[in-house]
């Protein structure tokens, strides 16, 4: 997988998980366990659970899905 595709896939997964309503620890664990995002593991390791909870709440409030 190219670096550009990894970045795109990581963004997709992150927003999708944040909009899912899953608990913050589950979101972090899911991102860390996905082998597609091995390059981003150090980045995710630093995630603050409070901030993931805030992002999740924001996405729950504002997220709008694409209509094809």
């Amino acid at each position: 997988m190219s670096e550009d595709l990894k970045y795109s896939e990581f963004q997709n997964a992150l927003l999708g998980l944040l909009a899912s309503g899953l608990p913050e620890e589950t979101i972090i664990a899911t991102l860390k366990s996905d082998s597609r995002f091995d390059d981003y593991r150090d980045y995710v390791d630093q995630f603050d659970p409070d901030m993931v909870a805030v992002a999740s709440e924001l996405m729950g409030k504002w997220a709008r899905r694409k209509v094809d």
Partner: protein, 281 residues
């Protein structure tokens, strides 16, 4: 904000010619919403006086893919900037669109080669559409302390691509100071302060800390009066940033429904004026 409570809160300020610059969220109407006539009158008046600045909300400059929605947004921005004169245009650092989500809240990104390249390309598109100076606003949100420490330099690299400016939001700085226990001067000095052309001031709120790592989480909700800490940061920023031209007081619509809240907003405006007078004597 083109809401009735905002009109009531600000009418006196406009009547007394206290307002020197107006900022408009120019993508407000991109989804079909229409501003009230009183709002359009103000925009036209300040535009004619070359005192209107533009602030976009929904571009999502650091999204990994360039979407049809972003293409449409840029086309509408181009039309808006052709029809109305703006001094400059700004957007938010971060991304709010990816995969099946076309609109969310701006979030920070992994600051790597990929995001830097995508961001630079989008800033060039933004500058081409606006045909005026463009800049980025620092984000209140951060996933980690590392995000906080790296944001200033990363924004500098992005705006340098278009000879752009930094919109320094001081409540966003306050959020990061409070949430990550970062000394305010140390944090400010991580930003390209000579490129600050505009300051934002606003209030916010506190929410519960899920983890218990901190007493509470400071949020950039724009729904309360400006706290004293942000006024203090304003005085400090004005000393550190030699090229500030615009200072904007922000407030979310429908959050000033009571006369006392509207008076509080006017009091905050007057306090900013006093700080500016003191700093630029």
């Amino acid at each position: 904000m083109p809401t009735e409570d905002f009109r009531q809160a600000t009418d006196e300020l406009f009547q007394r010619n206290k307002v020197e610059t107006l900022e408009w969220s120019f993508d407000f109407g991109f989804s079909g919403a229409a501003a009230e006539p009183w709002c359009n009158d103000l925009l036209d008046k300040f535009s004619a006086a070359d005192s209107l600045t533009g602030h976009g909300v929904e571009l999502s400059p650091l999204s990994a893919t360039f979407s049809r929605r972003q293409r449409d947004w840029l086309a509408q921005a181009r039309e808006e900037f052709q029809n109305r004169r703006y001094r400059h245009a700004s957007e938010h650092f971060g991304f709010s669109e990816a995969g099946p989500i076309e609109k969310g809240a701006p979030l920070s990104v992994p600051m790597n080669e990929q995001s830097l390249h995508r961001g630079k390309e989008m800033m060039k598109r933004f500058a081409d559409a606006a045909q005026c100076p463009v800049g980025l606003e620092n984000l209140a949100f951060a996933f980690s302390l590392e995000d906080v420490k790296r944001q200033g330099d990363f924004i500098d690299q992005l705006i340098s691509e278009v000879d752009g400016f930094l919109l320094l939001d001081l409540h966003n700085i306050f959020c990061q100071v409070a949430n990550f226990n970062m000394p305010e001067l140390e944090l400010l000095n991580l930003y390209p302060l000579s490129k600050v052309r505009e300051l934002h001031l606003s209030g916010g709120s506190w929410s519960r800390s899920i983890s218990g790592r901190r007493l509470a989480v400071r949020r950039d909700t724009h729904d309360d009066a400006v706290p004293q800490e942000v006024f203090n940061l304003t005085a400090l920023a004005l000393k550190l940033c030699p090229n500030v031209e615009f200072v904007i007081l922000e407030r979310l619509g429908y959050t000033m429904m009571e006369p006392e809240q509207q008076q509080e907003f006017r009091d905050d405006f007057d306090t900013i004026r006093e700080i500016l007078d003191h700093c630029y004597v």
